[in-house]
């Protein structure tokens, strides 16, 4: 009976896999995902949800499916890490486990895991950092002084153990500045600038902070409780206020400009820059519903999958010739740049331009 049932599910699976290709829709992808879940095929569920979301990025059902599958997958990884910890405990295994709990949003387990790690490996700053980060997230969300002060203490402990930990200095500078402890924030920002002199955003933030009136003394208890009483942080993000805020807008402007330049090349009909569900378009293309965008998304995704499974690495670029002329695609992670141009248009230069566009947009994001 069990075997018959299983055979029936497999038959249904084949039918759904074909249906997804022939009539793709959010519900066909969800149905397929459901069968994969029933068969315990989590990776396939994730792939189905991911593929569905590429075609239907606004589908709430597919998002739910992705979330569920991720949760199931994390549960499996947690179980495996727990087993490994029982056999041979290391600080790294604890950190990995705590990070999985962070992804799950289970603060109690993050705390439990980090505290266990700190007890067994008191000289490892990693668990202190994860715990402090989680408390910081809670503080920014709920404005509870206890979380904020604990986070500060945790980050200070990280710096005691690892004085060159740039992440801890950055997080401390940020939280101290935003709660009004400008003098203390300045100390960490100066240290961060010494550690990362090439980071322009830190230099700008430092310059900005030095121009502000510095109080003689910072009473953290008073400041954190004042935040709770006011229900808001007195200052905005440190780096954002120092001029990095315009960076996003600036990078979009730069992408738009580069895309417009590509669209002006003789023979180019359509040019698009896609990042996840968002797209910038130029040329003979009206809006984000243009079929070309969907073609590019599907082709890039299929090429990525095929290249990986053929063991030739990650798909980076491609040219397709046909009745439509040429389609040039350049892709890295979730960023895709593509062009539709007439037959006979030299594609080498276009591919180089697309590659530069993708690379520069990623550099700015980082």
């Amino acid at each position: 009976m069990k075997l018959l049932n299983r055979l029936r599910i497999w038959k249904e699976l084949r039918h759904l896999e074909a249906k997804v290709r022939e009539e793709p829709s959010p519900s066909t992808f969800v149905d397929l995902g459901q069968v994969y879940i029933n068969l315990g095929m989590l990776n396939e569920t994730l792939a189905a949800a991911d593929e569905g979301l590429r075609l239907f990025p606004n589908s709430a059902e597919l998002r739910k499916l992705l979330k569920f599958a991720k949760r199931k997958q994390l549960d499996g990884r947690i179980k495996e890490l727990r087993q490994r910890l029982n056999k041979n405990a290391t600080a790294k295994l604890y950190r990995d486990l705590a990070q999985l709990y962070v992804e799950l949003g289970d603060f109690g387990s993050v705390q439990g895991t980090c505290e266990e790690c700190i007890r067994r490996f008191p000289q490892d700053p990693g668990a202190h950092l994860i715990l402090a980060r989680t408390r910081l997230t809670n503080f920014y969300r709920d404005m509870t002084p206890r979380d904020g002060l604990e986070a500060v203490r945790g980050l200070q402990r990280v710096i005691e153990l690892d004085p060159a930990n740039a992440t801890a200095h950055r997080l401390l500078a940020e939280v101290l500045y935003r709660t009004g402890a400008v003098r203390s924030a300045l100390v960490h920002l100066e240290r961060l600038h010494q550690l990362e002199p090439q980071d322009n955003s830190v230099a700008l933030a430092l310059d900005n902070l030095r121009r502000q009136p510095i109080p003689a003394h910072d009473d953290l208890e008073v400041l954190f409780h004042a935040v709770e009483a006011a229900g808001r942080l007195p200052y905005g993000p440190l780096v954002h206020e120092s001029g990095r805020g315009g960076a996003d807008e600036g990078s979009v402007g730069h992408i738009r400009e580069a895309l417009a330049h590509i669209a002006e090349v003789r023979g180019v009909h359509k040019a698009a820059y896609i990042r996840g569900a968002k797209a910038l378009v130029k040329g003979d293309i009206k809006d984000g519903r243009d079929a070309f965008l969907r073609v590019v998304r599907v082709v890039a995704k299929a090429a990525q999958r095929a290249a990986r499974r053929m063991d030739i690495g990650n798909f980076s670029k491609g040219v397709m010739d046909g009745e439509f002329g040429h389609i040039c695609v350049c892709c890295f992670g979730d960023v895709i740049a593509a062009v539709l141009c007439a037959a006979g248009t030299p594609t080498d230069q276009i591919l180089t331009d697309l590659q530069e566009l993708v690379a520069s947009s990623l550099c700015e994001r980082d």
Binding site: R21, A291, F292, R294, V295, V298, V299, A302, A303, R305, A306, A307, R309, M310, D311, I312, G313, N314, F315, S316, K317, G318, V319, M320, D321, G322, E323, F324, I327, L340
Partner: protein, 121 residues
């Protein structure tokens, strides 16, 4: 069929080309001369997946058919050439200059089409 195999074997002798295969759009292998690192059935299956997915999305987008698709990845390149009833799949290393081997690949594609016609009739 031997002629097709000979053409694929000869194509593999071209500098930079690591292997070639002739597959149908539904993934059936007609002939292959691929390196040991590549499983012929896997390549055929993936080529079929890529061909059907691309064809369908182009058709839905009103763009018509594609005749050639060159993919460049970090560790290699793959070229798919439409020969009518089948596709020629050419695998090269990542450093291969496709422009320099284009003549040989196109010549091989023509020869395969000729050989297929002779075999069918």
């Amino acid at each position: 069929m031997t002629a097709i195999q000979d053409i694929l074997d000869a194509l593999r002798e071209v500098p930079g080309i690591k292997g070639a295969a002739l597959v149908t759009p539904d993934g059936i292998v007609i002939g292959s001369s691929l390196s040991a690192t590549l499983n012929t059935d896997v390549v055929a299956g993936l080529a079929s997946f890529l061909i059907t997915t691309t064809r369908r999305s182009l058709r839905e987008g009103g763009l018509g058919k594609f005749t050639r698709f060159v993919l460049q990845a970090t560790n290699g390149k793959v070229m798919l050439i439409d020969l009518g009833d089948s596709f020629l799949v050419v695998h090269t290393d990542q450093f291969a200059r496709l422009e320099s081997s284009r003549v040989e690949v196109e010549e091989a594609a023509r020869e395969i089409q000729r050989a297929s016609r002779v075999n069918v009739s």
